[in-house]
């Protein structure tokens, strides 16, 4: 799974039928500190991830097809979780 930050969205009218009803969200893969890591990608989302929120994106096609309810959907990235925002007080928590 990928750790990404939401940095936008895209609109498409001509698309694969399995995408109907799903938002296309632009995600930028990031590392633990939040620095960009690689090119932005488009993920489908129905959790309502907001701009600049950190999300978890899965690339497992089988589970994506199950969740979309379409056994031949070509989607590869799907947002499956939204991380809680990190405030500065949590930043320097040392493991016990």
């Amino acid at each position: 799974m990928l750790h990404c930050r939401v940095e936008g969205s895209a609109v498409s009218t001509i698309r694969h039928p399995s995408l109907n009803g799903w938002r296309l969200v632009l995600c930028q893969p990031i590392d633990a500190e939040g620095a960009d890591e690689g090119d932005p990608l488009l993920a489908v989302d129905n959790l309502g991830a907001g701009l600049h929120e950190r999300v978890i994106v899965t690339t497992d096609g089988k589970s994506i097809r199950q969740r979309m309810g379409h056994d031949r959907s070509p989607v590869r990235f799907m947002i499956i979780g939204i991380l809680d925002p990190v405030d500065s007080s949590q930043k320097n928590l040392q493991p016990a």
Binding site: G8, S12, H16, A49, R65
Partner: protein, 111 residues
Amino acid sequence: MRFGQVIGRVTLSPYDPSYRGGRFLVVLPWLPPEGENPVAASSPLPAGNSMVVYDDLGAGVGDIIGYSESGEAAAAFADPTPVDAYNCAILDTCLYRPLRSNCVPAGQAIT
């Protein structure tokens, strides 16, 4: 899916029977400009290796598409098909507001 800009098409004469009806596009990786605007082909052409993408949505040269790769691309076919990249969507507009620094404010609704 990945962003791609269509720069050409490939025509096969002998082809695998499971390709029936599909077209092949030559696609370069495309990066969205900042802000919210209709997608437009970038000239000069974006850098990067071109890919051949299977398409049955009818994308033309200059279109910006979202294509998926590897196993998920082949999943779009009933019978097993040797396809590496599949055109999932022809994009109309794209909102891109990168957060350059690594501080993480709370989420805001996407306008």
